[in-house]
């Protein structure tokens, strides 16, 4: 593959904006970032954040309202064909022909690229065995289980051996075992030097796989860094969540009164869940003190949850909302 420009940028997005005329939805608002070659880069964000929209534009099937997108230096609008040669897309929905077998689907989509048939056939079989679909190689796609369909959906994105792979929620709704399988598969691709752009709303997925994560909400990137740095910078450590028997207003007042208390500096209230969240470094060790203080404030705990440091905390701290699965 011939690289243009500085040789290390697989995907470069500049001031990208998308307004769907249908309903005047501002799906993406002025996003800029770049993905390096060989990197696994994740878009983490809630439903409707604009993840799929960004992927569609970057993979040449949707026109942006403004801004530029380059794939290996090629513009997605003016050099569409060159871009398409280098990319593979796994859409969020299952998209393949139900009345073709697993193998036939791979061959059909593979034939849409200029690749020798012999090589393609070999590669299709390699892919099939790599995600444990050997037994289903000649089964019609419609007869596969949900998880197997996801795997097929993913394989189709890889059949042209692309250098940049877009995966839109590749593990949505899969059992933990299959997710693991796919994760290992993606890490393998990375080892081969492939670049992966992934969207997810699973924290653990983004955390485990990504070199870097962009947190996206309402069409904007609100943070972008490695999972480690994101957690260090935004999570505020572990999070302990409480629910109380007392009315929320009473609880809020009590926390305010005691706000000089060191434990209570980082209390946040999540309206929708009637949850009080307290972020503390080294949360587990602090719990006994915290409980003692709460008792002294004359509050009665109805529920309590300890959350270890995670990207979820990052999201909540940045947006004041939970990122739901």
């Amino acid at each position: 593959m011939v690289l243009q420009n500085n040789g290390t940028i697989a995907l470069e997005i500049n001031h990208l904006k998308k307004i769907y005329p249908d309903g005047n939805v501002h799906a993406v608002e002025d996003i800029s970032f770049s993905v390096k070659e060989g990197e696994i880069f994740s878009f983490l964000g809630p439903n409707g954040a604009g993840k799929s929209t960004t992927i569609s534009i970057a993979s040449t099937t949707l026109k942006p309202t403004a801004g530029t997108v380059k794939v290996f230096g090629y513009d997605v609008i003016s050099e569409t064909n060159k871009v398409r040669k280098h990319i593979g897309i796994c859409p969020q929905d299952l998209v393949f022909y139900n009345n073709l077998t697993v193998y036939e689907n791979l061959i059909f989509f593979g034939k849409m690229y200029k690749r020798p048939l012999k090589e393609l056939k070999k590669y299709a079989d390699f892919l099939i065995s790599h995600v444990g679909l050997d037994e289903k190689r000649n089964s019609l796609a419609k007869k596969l289980s949900g998880g197997m369909k996801r795997r097929l959906n993913l394989l189709i994105a890889l059949v042209n051996d692309p250098d940049l792979i877009f995966l839109d929620e590749p593990t949505a709704g899969l059992d933990p075992q299959t997710r693991r399988l796919i994760w290992e598969f993606l890490l393998n691709l990375k080892k081969k030097g492939k670049t992966v752009f992934l969207t997810t709303h699973y924290m653990d997925e983004a955390d485990y796989l990504s070199d870097r994560v962009a947190i996206i909400d309402h069409g904007k990137i609100i943070a972008l860094d490695s999972p480690f740095d994101l957690k260090r910078e935004y999570s505020g450590g572990d999070v302990i969540e409480f629910k109380f028997h007392e009315a929320d207003t009473t609880v809020q007042k009590k926390f305010q009164e005691n706000s000089q208390q060191s434990h209570f500096k980082n209390v946040s209230y999540i309206d929708e869940d009637n949850l009080f969240r307290i972020a503390i470094h080294n949360g587990l060790l602090t719990i006994p003190d915290l409980l003692k203080d709460i008792q002294e404030m004359n509050l009665h705990i109805s529920d309590m949850n300890v959350k270890a440091n995670s990207l979820e905390n990052v999201f909540i701290n940045l947006t004041g909302r939970r990122l739901r699965d």
Binding site: P91, D93, V95, N98, L100, F108, M112
Partner: protein
């Protein structure tokens, strides 16, 4: 280029695995054509004798006389001015025979050499004979009307003194086949049978769009032209299958085409079906683009199908029902197809007949124009999936 075949093969493969779809594709034409066969098959054709007689004349006479009233052309003009007669000069005997076989004329007259000199009484010949040739299917009554009218006019003009000059006539019939009502209607039924498969095409396309398949393909290296052509090829093959089923079924009920030669008819039909499929698929792409969902497209396409079917004369011959419309509907592709089928299967014309070639040209121009429109609109269609 190879990709369009891959698309076509994929379509046929998935189609052949959809058992219910396959069943309907075969059963519906059998049912449709059987019903047509039952309704029209037993019916004798009563309409092939019109009450206006179209009579050709071949003038073999090279002589001419001074008196303009004692001439072949004056005689024929006089007959032509009669209410129920249309006269038409024909160059040669053989072309008159062909027109008679094709039912373009009901009879023709041959004026012999020396006829004008004879009626001007400038020769000494005592007797002249003109020939009147009919189809054997023409009834006795019609023959009598035609011959007595012609002879009456000639004698009226020539023999103001009835016994002065004696003109005889002989009659002769040629054999043309009796055409059944079913055979007459078949070009229309076949066109309609083909046309109706457009619903399957639009539903397939809009479903593929809804399922994101078109978008997924779009992100690969295949061009819209390849996708459209691929669909056209597979669809044309399915149409051919239905066409063969249709012809087979109608034959069981008595469809008997009259053709120039069988190879020429089959080849002409093949070209027509391909051109109609081109037009029809382009139309399917355009209407899928506009109507978007399978539900809307499956129903909405009938807005086009109904006028195309009615104005083509598929079920009701326009010549009888609405002759006034004929000049205005000639450009409609379905009408062109019906006319070509009529030429090939009933009028016995060879596919290289200029009037058929002209229709092929029209049909392909209209199909190509719509195809280009389809390609232009396609990009928008594949992308704007929700």
């Amino acid at each position: 280029m190879v990709k369009l075949w891959d698309v076509a093969v994929k379509n046929l493969k998935t189609f052949s695995r959809d058992r219910k779809g396959l069943l309907f594709t075969i059963l519906i034409p059998i049912l449709f054509y059987s019903i047509m066969g039952i309704v029209f098959g037993g019916m004798e054709n009563n309409n092939n004798e019109s009450y206006t007689y179209s009579v050709g004349y071949v003038d073999l006479d090279t002589t001419s006389a001074e008196n303009p009233y004692l001439s072949t052309s004056y005689i024929c003009n006089t007959i032509d001015e009669m209410e129920n007669f249309i006269m038409k000069e024909i160059e040669s005997n053989s072309s008159a025979l062909e027109q008679l076989k094709n039912k373009e004329i009901d009879a023709y007259i041959i004026f012999p050499q020396g006829f004008e000199l004879y009626i001007n009484r400038t020769t000494t010949t005592l007797e002249k004979t003109i020939e009147i040739i009919y189809q054997d299917s023409t009834s006795e009554i019609s023959r009598t009307i035609i011959s007595s009218t012609i002879m009456g006019v000639i004698n009226g003009i020539v023999n103001y003194d009835p016994n002065a000059v004696k003109i005889e006539h002989v009659e002769q019939t040629i054999s043309g086949e009796q055409i059944s009502q079913l055979t007459l209607g078949t070009p229309g039924y076949l066109m309609y049978g083909i046309l109706s498969s457009i619903t399957g095409a639009v539903i397939l396309l809009t479903s593929e769009r809804k399922d994101g398949l078109l978008k997924r393909l779009e992100s690969s290296q295949i061009t819209p032209g390849d996708i459209i052509m691929g669909h056209m090829i597979s669809n044309t093959i399915i149409i051919m299958l239905q066409f063969v089923i249709g012809v087979g079924t109608l034959s069981l009920f008595g469809f008997r085409p009259i053709f120039h030669d069988i190879a020429s008819m089959l080849f002409g039909i093949l070209i027509t079906v391909i051109l109609l499929a081109l037009f029809q698929n382009a139309l399917a792409f355009v209407s899928s683009t506009i109507l978007k969902t399978p539900e809307a497209a499956g129903g909405g396409i009938w807005l086009l199908l109904i006028p195309m079917m009615m104005f083509s004369g598929a079920f009701f011959p326009l010549e009888l029902v609405a002759p006034g419309l004929i000049p205005y509907v000639g450009w409609i592709p379905t009408r062109i197809v019906v006319l070509i089928f009529q030429d090939l299967m009933i009028n016995g014309l060879a596919f290289w007949h200029p009037s058929i070639l002209l229709k092929f040209l029209w049909l392909s121009l209209e199909g190509l124009a719509l195809f280009l429109l389809a390609v232009i609109m396609y990009r928008k269609f594949a992308q704007s999936s929700g």
